[in-house]
């Protein structure tokens, strides 16, 4: 089956939905694809229906946006994993919830595939009960299920605060928040000072709630290791500046560690759009203009996939991309998007500047990482193995290190370990090598059922020929 539309939007979060709504309202045929069962993305994560009936909806504005998108006639294909691109360089290949293949062609593509969480390994991060803040949030929002009874949140970035609040609301005992930086030096409340942008006021609000619940925020603190038998039972923390020296041990039954987000750019790269390596984060970021136009005429990127900046920026980028796409497809002049986006991007940068840069964190934390630490959990490759190969035969080359150690070759394809493995390789390199910031994007974007491929091959052999 080939679905043909004016615009295909991949990703049903704030950016994708906002854009889809605008495009459909202007009369274009639009399909939104999302691998999740419900639209909303990370921020507007929809609760499962039973959960919504019992507990209500934590972000009703998300539900309203989804309703408007549907009412505007956008075709919503949830549970659709877009796993690749056909050889014509533009037909998207997806699997529907039943595993049937779907091919989609748009006159224009908008990729709003969001972000995934940035991880930095530590001894014990492979223990059950160790997850990311995003996963805890997901479980809470979608299933109203707490990640544990007694939880420590750790890592860096503003996201730790709302997740802690979500857990508190579920009755979880949040034993503390370890923030690697010192963003709240002046006190969390000070962030709310009148002249600070809304984003920071929001943070101050979370801070107030955490203070009422007496949740300690340990600033300048990182995870040294997690311990436990068949599940995490304790986490030992250290000062960021001396990450190998234990400072305190806290008993927990769940530990959520995340260092912010990385743009999810696999499809952007499979489509051949130019990406650049961000110096501060080491991430591959699509090269776009303010409206999200990539190096390819017919492909836009919006939302966190275009760069991390939170829901407001993602929404604004979605709107700007839609306007630009409309201009291209209908000839209608696009309003200049630049101002609002520039302002929001400035605010995002301001917030970001409060926290240590991921590159600096890596530089501080990796040298302290013991040799036996699992660097790649999928393939059980230790930091020591990565270092030895990178320093020796792989000569500082990330992909050679991957090939020779198998780090990054497992089911997550380096999404979880890629950032840290790249850091370990850089650190161990005998000489500064040609920088490869991330593992290359590979087909399939996520593992895909061979049965699905078979059906697609059978279709290809049929009337409409190979795409």
């Amino acid at each position: 089956m080939i679905v043909e539309r004016d615009v295909l939007v991949v990703g049903g979060g704030p950016a994708g939905l906002t854009a889809a709504l605008r495009l459909a309202q202007a009369g274009l045929t639009v399909t939104v694809l999302d691998e999740q069962a419900e639209l909303g993305g990370q921020y507007y994560r929809r609760p499962a229906p039973e959960v919504a009936a019992l507990w209500g909806d934590h972000r009703p504005e998300g539900r309203r946006l989804v309703e408007r998108v549907r009412a505007a006639g956008v075709e919503c294909r949830t549970g659709h994993l877009v796993w690749g691109v056909a050889d014509d360089g533009r037909t998207l290949l997806a699997a529907d919830p039943a595993g049937r293949p779907v091919r989609l062609r748009g006159r224009h593509l908008l990729l709003a595939t969001g972000a995934y969480e940035r991880a930095i390994p530590f001894p014990g991060w492979q223990l059950p009960g160790v997850t990311t803040p995003g996963f805890a949030q997901h479980l809470a929002a979608a299933d109203h299920t707490p990640i544990g009874d007694r939880v420590v949140l750790a890592g860096s970035g503003p996201f730790l605060l709302p997740v802690a609040c979500t857990l508190l609301a579920l009755g979880v005992r949040v034993a503390g928040i370890a923030e690697a930086g010192t963003p709240y030096r002046a006190g969390l409340r000070a962030l709310g000072a009148v002249r600070h942008p809304a984003r920071l006021r929001e943070l101050a609000g979370y801070g107030a709630r955490l203070a009422r619940a007496r949740v300690p925020i340990w600033q300048g603190t990182v995870v040294l290791r997690a311990d436990g038998g068949d599940r995490v039972s304790a986490v030992t923390l250290a000062a960021t500046a001396r990450p190998a020296v234990p400072v305190r041990t806290v008993e927990v039954d769940a530990l959520c560690v995340g260092y912010g987000f990385r743009p999810q750019t696999d499809l952007v790269r499979l489509l051949g759009c130019a990406v650049r390596a961000d110096a501060a984060t080491g991430d591959a970021v699509p090269v776009t203009d303010p409206a999200g136009r990539t190096s390819r005429e017919d492909v836009h990127v919006a939302g966190e996939a275009a760069g991390i900046g939170g829901v407001h920026l993602a929404t604004a980028r979605g709107r700007a991309a839609a306007d630009d796409i409309l201009a291209r497809l209908t000839g209608r002049p696009a309003p200049r998007p630049a101002r609002r986006i520039r302002r929001l991007a400035r605010f995002a940068a301001l917030t970001e500047a409060l926290y240590p840069s991921p590159a600096d964190l890596l530089a501080t934390l990796l040298p302290a990482l013991p040799e036996h630490t699992m660097a790649c959990r999928c393939e059980a490759v230790t930091a020591g193995e990565v270092r030895a190969v990178a320093a020796g035969p792989a000569a500082g080359d990330l992909n050679a290190t991957k090939a020779w150690t198998r780090a990054g070759m497992g089911p997550c394809q380096g999404r979880a370990c890629g950032f840290a493995v790249a850091g370990l390789v850089r650190e161990a390199a005998p000489a500064p090598a040609a920088a490869t910031p991330v593992f290359p994007a590979r087909t399939p974007v996520r593992p895909v059922e061979i049965a699905t491929l078979l059906d697609l091959a059978a279709e290809d052999a049929g009337t409409d020929g190979p795409a």
Partner: protein
Amino acid sequence: MSATADVIVVGAGVLGAAAAYRIARAGHRVRVFDRSAPGREGSGTTAGNLHVQAVHTRRPGQAVPLDSARFLPLQRAASDLWAGLEEELETSVELRRGGGFTVAETPGQCRELHDKHRWEADAGIKTEVLDGDAARAALPLLGPTVAAASWCELDGYANPLKVTPAYLAAAIRYGAEVTPFAPVRGITRDAGIWRVTAGAHTVEAPVVIDVAGPWLGEVAALAGIRLRMTPVAIQMHATVRVPPVMSHLVQHIGEGLSVKQVTAGNVLIGGGWPARTLDLAGRSATSTASLLGNVALAVRILPFLTRLRLLRAWAGPLAATPDEMPLIGEVPGAPGFLVAGGTYAFTFGPLWGETLRRLAEGAPPPVDISDLGPERLLT
């Protein structure tokens, strides 16, 4: 002033690594250069099959069939060397000789199995031709379209991500010097001595070995030698890891197919299907049409695959000769300039490594290579 060596090896793929090891072990001073990290190109992306029974498949899009019968004595010699390799290199390369089946589906293909069986017998390679039911009894995973299969107990696999590094490590133990990220940019000859410039290095030696794989022609051209070699990119596919299900290599006599389960548990599906692009500056891009074609063929022969999930696809380059036969020998008119390459160079790695040592020493090769030299490719 420039450094000197006895032998300069251009390219640290499996051939460069094997040659460097054999030559260094014999007491010569060896210098190896690679344009990037070693073992990343053909030798890092290869399927890693050890083909001992006759290879009779054409890559999809391959214009000329190779001369299977001519291959066999070479395969046999290579097979013997593989047998002792782990002991020789003092490390595991995940070598597995689980044996292999080559399947046929049509009457014509069945006849080819019998032809091939005769050549194998002539070359002293033991194979057996089974009808479909006997083949399914031996390997119950085979599907209903399999009409016959030949069995060879010597077919196998070695993990390519271990082989080249193991050879290089052994070469270094014997004193070879390996310089990665040093592309060779100049080769000149003066008074019987070759002078090679690679990055910031200049080295002189009486013997240069061009084993630059897809760049073999390009490197030869630096020395003014024009060879007809065509780089092509083909692709591979891997499923997620599963518990052990099969220990054999399965190939197809008429279509591009090779399937085996590797030590880590992934099932690797290949067969020489063309990549979407050949990109010698970066990574070649995989083709979805090839992915679908190769996987569909694999499922037809091994239906259980339909229950697995595909984890990833990748593409790698190799240098094909116009006649699909290996290339090995000294370039006429360029004494001391040796070349080796062509398809199936992974299987032939140990053999060409030893052959290059003998040629570098001016000794006769261990197998007859008189018709495999560069003469036939000079323009």
